[in-house]
Symmetry: C2
Subunit: 211 residues, 2 copies
DNA sequence: CGTTAATTTGACCAAATGGTCAGAAATTTA
DNA sequence: TAAATTTCTGACCATTTGGTCAAATTAACG
């Protein structure tokens, strides 16, 4: 029987293994070439199986894509959920920024996957953006707003601050090729990200205006 | 005779008009769907001409794409060239940031076009990135380095500072759909960008740590 | 006006690609 | 081991799409 036919049916060992293999391969390919730029054959080749066999597990290309997006999304949102309202504002934002930067360093494909999707109008995950993402951001923006009101942060708009953090950190995943063109292979060494983190921290906390 | 056959040949009135029409249409489509996601038919339709007629002016899809990239690139690099070594550092960086943000507001397609190209590995413009872009950035990074040495800026790495400015400002073009999902239609109003500019300025100049 | 050159189009082709299907091979289960 | 079920594959199909071409139409020019 087809593995997707019944959702309640128990998953086979082979099924679990192959689905994982496909999704892992697909993440890489989709992140590099986007949805339309990716062919099923590419994924199949990377997952070391024939195209019809891959289509035995996922009926349509779109199904693979959505699965990959969903699977990556949780991991992607987690850091923001950990922003603690009761913690020290500077420390909390520092931790969050640093964590996001680390994710750009260690798993740039996830960032690129979303960048692609959003650039193309987010046709597949618009409802997620307007749903759980919006809710989460609204919640954390309120936390930051509270910190500002309490005088624990300079007066800034919480939403734009969050956007700035996303922008600066994800830039290190999405635009790494541009950085490599400018700085050469230094960008592949760990101390590159250390320097990035230092600069980001300094600018975010102190600003560039000397005192 | 084919218009592309002889480069030195004078361009017809019709030729100039249609080429411009094509490139304008192509910018929009390529920025939205990327290179592979774009079909010649889409561009032809938007430019209000038949596909074979479009191919009369540009032999291959790639030719259109490269033309669009080249045409947009100059405009894209101009602001950085205007960073004046003899000006006041804070003022110069402020002007640059504000100009880039305005460009994201008024011509987001250009930003998205490059974001797409770079995300996909910059296959068409790698040589430009390693050439004129690298040179320009090296030059301006030296200027910033000088400012830092002179104590006119907080101690930050010039390259990472430039990357931060790119990231934050271009984010408002590339990720506008995500912002709209979170903030609604406010993002289409002018005071949205004003608020963005204020927040960016505050963070960049003062930092978020209250004093 | 009439000739020449530029422009436009419909019809068409070949390759790429998403997806199907009948049946072979392998695995599980009784 | 034998039947039942799952997994896998080669061959195949339909559509999309980049690109060609001969011929028709229009514009330019002497």
């Amino acid at each position: 029987m087809h593995p997707r036919a019944g959702q309640t049916k128990k998953r086979t060992r082979i099924q679990a293994k192959n689905e994982a293999k496909i999704l892992e391969a697909a993440l890489d390919i989709f992140a590099t070439f986007g949805f339309r730029g990716t062919t099923i054959d590419q994924i199949a080749q990377k997952a070391e199986m024939s195209k019809p066999n891959l289509l035995y597990y996922f009926r349509r290309k779109e199904d693979i894509y959505i699965s990959v997006l969903e699977r990556t999304l949780d991991e992607w949102l987690t850091p923001l959920t950990e922003l603690d309202p009761d913690g020290d504002p500077i420390e909390e934002i520092g931790k969050y920024t640093s964590l996001k930067l680390k994710m750009s360093q260690n798993d740039p494909t996830a960032s690129r996957l979303f960048a692609n999707e959003i650039l193309h109008g987010a046709p597949m995950i618009e409802h997620v953006l307007k749903g759980s993402l919006k809710n989460l951001v609204d919640e954390k923006a309120a936390v930051i707003h509270h910190w500002v009101k309490a005088g624990k942060l300079t007066k800034v708009d919480p939403y734009h601050l969050i956007f700035m953090i996303w922008a600066t950190t994800q830039h290190y995943a999405d635009f790494k090729i541009q950085m490599r063109a400018i700085l050469g292979d230094d960008v592949d060494q760990p101390d590159y990200y250390e320097k990035a983190g230092q600069t980001i921290s300094t600018v975010f906390f102190e600003g560039i205006k000397p005192r």
